[in-house]
């Protein structure tokens, strides 16, 4: 469910990004990316499983030592901050264009950050519980609308499913797909209990499911809008929802956004919680609420700066794939390799315990 709320941001412009690169064959790179990222989360959950009850910051000290752990933690802190700022601006943009055109953006930032900070302060367990409800609601509404879109849309808009000339764009598309899978690294802030032995399998299938979810969104949007309209609209999924005819509900977009926004908020909260969690590990002596306030202020200032950047999205998307690659694949993989190696060495030495 945590992943699900983090997908909300991507759902809105994913069809556009996909349509302009891989066109009607988009489902292939999406599924390929979900398998690759599925592999990445398996690594993360394996690491978490090797050290039950601990999070990245704790066990990486055992694996790599203090100095590198601090470097990794600072990297994740900055990474989460960047994503947080990006998501927050997207949220403000969405609110401004659909609901509150005249409200100053910095007020929306202030309100949002205060709220997210407060919820994040309450701790990760409470947030996870809340996601159970929000995630399910969001899933039901989105899938429901997509099914109606499939029913009302034109099948020829998405055919043929495979076009050989579009395959050369796949690599480019895979790069674009990094952003929709940005949220995976938040798994590092969730401590696993000893019962989570099945977790790697579960998360892998969850990622495949998210891949299918993305495919459904992209295909249904293209079906109802057509491929050229999907490319022209930045918020193509919202435009597609607006075009759907649902009995009783005339403004389907507002209906979706009511649930979508809840999910967007939830996604924002988890990012904020991740930042707080990492910062707390870095400076454990400072009180929790002081950290939340400091991060809130830093976050607010960063957002204000980012507001001034006109092509924020392009800037973010130009470097996001590399950050995602490092945070979700490279670091976990290196940590796992080192951890496994250490475990073997200690086992050979005969003195190692099962936790490495």
């Amino acid at each position: 469910m945590i992943f699900l709320t983090l997908t909300t941001y991507s759902t809105i412009d994913l069809p556009k990004i996909m349509a302009q690169t891989a066109g009607r064959s988009s489902w292939i790179p999406i599924m390929a990316a979900s398998v690759i990222f599925g592999g990445a989360v398996v690594i993360i959950t394996k690491l978490n499983n090797m050290y039950p009850g601990k999070v990245l910051f704790d066990y990486s000290q055992e694996i790599t030592g203090r100095f590198i752990t601090y470097l990794i933690a600072i990297f994740y802190l900055l990474f989460f901050l960047l994503i947080g700022v990006y998501l927050k601006l997207k949220l403000v943009g969405l609110l401004k264009s659909n609901f509150l055109p005249q409200t100053p953006q910095f007020i929306m930032l202030l309100m949002g950050i205060s709220l997210f900070g407060y919820v994040a302060y309450k701790g990760i367990t409470n947030i996870a519980r809340m996601f159970e409800i929000i995630g399910i609601l969001f899933l039901i509404v989105t899938v429901g609308l997509c099914v109606i879109m499939l029913y009302e849309g034109m099948i020829y808009n998405i055919l043929p499913f495979f076009n050989i000339t579009e395959t050369k764009e796949y690599m480019h598309t895979m790069k674009d797909l990094a952003t929709p899978f940005t949220g995976l690294a938040v798994l590092f802030i969730i401590p696993f209990t000893a019962q989570n032995k099945k977790a790697p399998k579960v998360v892998f299938f969850t990622l495949l499911f998210i891949g299918l979810f993305y495919v459904l969104i992209v295909e249904s949007t293209i079906m109802i809008l057509g491929i050229n309209n999907t490319i022209v609209f930045n918020d193509s999924f919202i435009e597609a929802i607006k075009t759907v005819n649902v009995p009783v509900i005339e403004r389907t977009d507002i209906f979706y956004l009511t649930f979508g926004l809840t999910s967007l908020f939830a996604g924002m909260i988890i990012m904020f919680a991740a930042i707080v969690e990492v910062a707390y590990r870095l400076i454990p002596k400072v009180k929790h609420h002081i950290i939340v306030i400091i991060i809130g202020i830093v976050f607010f200032i960063l957002c204000l700066f980012a507001l001034k950047i006109n092509n924020m999205r392009d800037v973010f998307e130009s470097f996001a794939p590399y950050l995602v690659l490092i945070s979700s694949i490279l670091i976990p993989m290196l940590l796992l390799i080192i951890a496994q190696a250490k475990k073997r060495i200690s086992q050979k030495a005969g003195g190692g315990d099962s936790n490495g």
Binding site: Q102, T103, I107, L110, S114, Y156, T165, N228, R251
Partner: protein, 380 residues
């Protein structure tokens, strides 16, 4: 310390609550907006004319006995040399902001569509508040007459047009296309579309035919009475009545298309379509007194005549698109693209379409209307 913390909390709450108030600027009551139901465009004397039909929500409440007090719909009009100028002139008359999320229909006169179809529809696309699941239709009538015919009866022209097309679509006699779908067609490499053309028949709004859009402008007109064959391609479940001569009488038969399969092939640079259509036909009545003695032989004979008629309709529809209008509004391009995506990319479809060949195969399953028996040959 505790004292300071309380002070801090109070201070924070006051700031946040004050900040919340800024959102009030965005609260606009729907009553404070002009709800647009229909937009009509015309070009007269080289000027763009803009006609807006506004739902007069105060009509019921008003106690004034003045001109227009009881009208449910009010028309605003403005003109200018360009689209933007016409709109700017219109804005100078408005006492409240426009609400465009309730627009049912966009109506373009033929002269307007010939010049501004793409420009205006792209303007619609860019305006996120404008409803794009509404219809777009063409008319040859004077917009003022259209409004007059409906407003005399206190009916919205937009709702009336939408209702008419929707009813025809449901009964299988025409089709509905949203403005969004039109936009998709106008954004493709090749554009060939039919847009319903409405007009007045004895002062009543009715479907008069279809305007043919090729590229970005209107190039022809297909009258509704000559469009049956075309509807076999354009409508989901087309249903029409045919009068079939048999012996010395005329039989009225209801025909429903049950299956349509179009398979393209591409050999030696030649495009060919195999078109298979299956119809369910039901004999309803004849123009002579019963008994009809409608037995197996009669069924076979009538089926053959009807099959030939239907085949002719389909063949004529393709011929007209290829030869008269030279425009692929039958969507043969999509059918070909799906099967041959690579070959399609480099094609000039305008040229390819008019030379494409079509093999038509029509099957008819004829029976008597359920509940009726025309086989009996005795009258008592």
């Amino acid at each position: 310390m505790v004292k300071h913390r309380k002070l801090f909390s109070v201070f924070a709450i006051i700031i946040l609550l004050t900040a919340l108030l800024t959102g009030c600027g965005d609260s606009v009551d729907i009553n404070e907006k002009l709800i647009v139901t229909t937009i009509v465009f015309d070009v007269k004397d080289r000027e763009v004319w803009y006609y807006l039909e506004i739902a007069n929500i105060e009509a019921g409440e008003s106690k004034d006995v003045g001109e227009g007090a009881g009208n449910k719909y009010i028309v605003y009009k403005a003109h200018g040399k360009t689209l933007t100028e016409a709109r700017d002139n219109l804005d100078t008359q408005l006492d409240k902001p426009l609400y465009l999320s309730g627009v049912r229909v966009l109506v373009f006169t033929e002269s307007f569509a010939k010049e501004y179809l793409v420009e205006y529809l792209y303007r619609v696309r860019v305006d996120e508040s404008q409803r794009k699941k509404g219809l777009t239709v063409i008319t040859k009538e004077d917009p003022e007459e259209l409004y007059k015919s409906t407003h005399e009866r206190n009916i919205s022209a937009g709702f009336m047009i939408e209702g008419t097309i929707e009813t025809l679509d449901e009964s299988g006699k025409s089709f509905m296309r949203t403005t969004m779908r039109l936009l998709e067609n106008l954004s493709s490499n090749y554009t060939g579309i039919l847009i319903p053309c409405i007009g007045l028949q004895d002062k009543e709004i009715s479907l008069r035919g279809y305007s043919v859009v090729s590229g970005s402008t209107i190039t022809g007109f297909l009258p509704v009475e000559e469009s049956v064959g075309t509807m076999f391609f354009k409508t989901d479940k087309p249903k029409f009545h045919f009068i079939v001569p048999y012996n010395d009488m005329n039989l009225t038969i209801e025909v429903l298309l049950t299956k349509r399969k179009i398979t393209p092939s591409y050999e030696d640079g030649k495009i060919n379509y195999d078109i298979k259509m299956e119809f369910r036909a039901e004999l309803m009545y004849g123009d002579k007194k019963t008994p009809y003695n409608f037995d197996d032989t009669a069924t076979r004979e009538v089926s053959e005549t009807l099959t030939a008629m239907l085949k002719q309709q389909v063949s004529d529809a393709i011929d007209r698109a290829q030869k008269e209008f030279e425009c692929d509004y039958l969507q043969f391009d999509d059918i070909f693209r799906i099967k041959f995506p690579v070959e399609f990319q480099d094609m000039d479809w305008q040229k390819e379409f008019i030379n494409a060949n079509a093999n038509i195969d029509v099957k008819v399953d004829l029976s008597t209307k359920w509940g009726m028996d025309y086989g009996a040959n005795k009258v008592k």
